[in-house]
């Protein structure tokens, strides 16, 4: 019983999660079920210990081809949505999920629009007609609660200048500065999948946390999902380094009355409050251009697109020449107005 699928009780077709209505819906007969009210099949089933080596599609019986991290996919023979239950239980059970709010069609439209707006991308790229595939994927994230105790000793100065007679005086007031700060961060997302590029995932933020829901397997129906490769302890250093610049900014913001600040002693103690396992929605677009494959990611809720597009050298040069020439013209005009002559 490791494999779960979602068959329509009315007609037996596959049911999928509908991003528009937020319901599990059947495309054949139009039946919709509220996921929040459904019993989760995961909770009813008891899985045997250890990971199964082979999964069989419940619709057609074919072997489901997946890699070791996949938790939800579709059968490559009959197309039924399948959830691999044993990869979502025990330690691997997600606590939260943000479902998709952007459908596949909307995602394609948004991606095409984004391509057209690329001022530096080659013209051929802008037409966006080489999309190799677009996949709705639930990416595993840890949402960290981090509690920081901060203590800072610093030397601050306030500088003022005034003139008296023939002299300009610079008056520097020196202060001994101390701050004790409690700084808590909640739901700091760190992607826990080995496959996903960390930099790309960071740029997808923020995810709308008001859309967070308790995890129900049915949300995965019709999408791909992955399980985490790194647990919350392994990724704790990355979470710490992610909030570090925020802490620095906060500390400095408590000392704005000083012209200069020199830290003599700074202690930041970060404690892991707790971390929740959440699945966040990402549209992954694979794109072929000039025999190279580019990968883009789109936030499945906000539609924000990230990823390195190809850059046209010609367009870069054109923009550079255009901006430089107009700067040159402006400088010429300024110097002319100041009486410097035009040539």
């Amino acid at each position: 019983m490791q494999v779960i699928d979602f068959k329509c009780p009315n007609c037996g077709s596959d049911m999928v999660y509908d991003s528009e209505s937020g319901m599990l819906s059947c495309h054949s007969c139009g039946r919709t079920d509220d996921i929040k009210l459904m019993p989760d099949p995961l909770k009813r089933n008891v899985f045997s210990e250890g990971e199964a080596t082979e999964y069989h599609c419940k619709s057609c019986g074919a072997v489901v081809i997946t890699d070791a991290d996949t938790t939800a996919t579709s059968c490559s023979f009959c197309g039924s949505g399948i959830v691999l239950g044993d990869r979502l239980t025990g330690k691997l059970a997600p606590a939260l999920v943000i479902p998709f709010s952007i459908s596949k069609e909307e995602a394609m439209r948004a991606f095409r629009k984004w391509c057209r707006n690329g001022r530096l991308t080659p013209n051929g790229f802008m037409t966006a007609d080489r999309v190799k595939g677009i996949t709705g994927m639930y990416v595993p994230f840890w949402l960290y609660e981090l509690n920081n105790a901060v203590e800072v000793h610093a030397h601050g100065t306030r500088v003022s200048t005034y003139t008296k007679g023939d002299y300009r005086y610079t008056e520097t007031q020196h202060f001994d500065v101390y701050r004790k700060i409690r700084l808590n961060y909640v739901d700091v997302p760190i992607d826990a999948s080995e496959k996903m590029n960390d930099e790309l995932m960071d740029k997808l933020e923020p995810f709308p946390y008001d859309q967070l829901k308790s995890f129900k397997t049915a949300y995965l129906a019709g999408y791909i999902a992955e399980k985490y490769n790194f647990d919350e302890k392994e990724l704790f250093p990355r979470a710490k380094s992610k909030i570090h610049p925020f802490i620095e900014e906060y500390i400095r913001s408590t000392m704005t009355q000083y012209t200069t600040v020199n830290y003599t002693n700074k202690q930041i103690d970060t404690k892991l409050g707790h971390a929740e396992y959440a699945l966040l929605p990402v549209w992954v677009v694979h794109y072929d251009y000039n025999k190279l494959e580019y990968t883009f990611a789109m936030n499945g809720q906000t539609g924000k697109v990230v990823g390195k597009p190809p850059i046209s050298k010609r367009k870069v040069m054109t923009w550079f020449a255009g901006i430089s020439a107009s700067c040159f013209l402006s400088l010429k005009l300024i110097s002319w107005m100041m009486g410097g002559g035009f040539w």
């Binding site: 023939d166 610079t170 007031q173 500065v177 909640v186 020449a321 255009g322 020439a325 100041m338 009486g339």
Partner: protein, 266 residues
Amino acid sequence: MRRSGLILSVVFFFFAVFLASPMEMKTAMALTPEGKQLIFDEAGLLKQEEYHELTTLAKQYGAHRETDIIILTTNNDVNGDVMKLTEDFYDEYGPGYDKPHGNAVILTLDMNNREVYLAGFYKAKTYLDDERLDKIRSKITPDLTSGDYALAFQTYMQTVDKYMGYEPGVNPDNPLFNVWVQLGASCIIGGIIVAAMVIRSGGRITINRSTYEDANTSGILDRRDQYIRTTVTKQKIQRQQSSGSGGGGGGTTGGGHSHSGSRGSF
């Protein structure tokens, strides 16, 4: 595509105008009245070919600025004052691009006392005030001292031409007026903006320090701002010496022509 083509053509138009501008100067040269003597090398400092080259240059720049650019060298056997020599020369000879006793700038070398005097008359008085003449003099003095007279005279003519292109009262050596500074600054600005565009093409980070901050439970628990001491440093303000017009370098000739001036030794 069409837009980038437009930008390119604007750029090319610019550089075409920029490259074409020296040509306009050469055509203007043809209008100079021929046969006018501008270099009076009584001390015999110049070779024949230097004399011809400098005369050509003086005519070219003179036509450009509508001013006679004159050089007078003398052994000063009568041991007169270099400023008086210059004034008398102007009264007597009556140079001027526009009319006799008109626009002229004169460089006088007194080889006897090794003194140099620069004087600007009419248009040259307005555009080459005492301050600008001082700048020209300090530019050519090292070459005069070392005996590179032809080079010094050439620098003199070029600088006169350059400075007369700026409105009176502005600093002609302002770096903002330098075409290379303008070009360099434009390229740096263009480079920074385009680099930012390239970096941002992959998507920007749109979170900040308050995105994940729990404002309800965060805050300052304890703070201390203890005053220790005050230190004061003082710096003398550099006041620009105002060069009094009339008093310093310039004056009025016996014939009643007022002029700007700058004198010094070499």
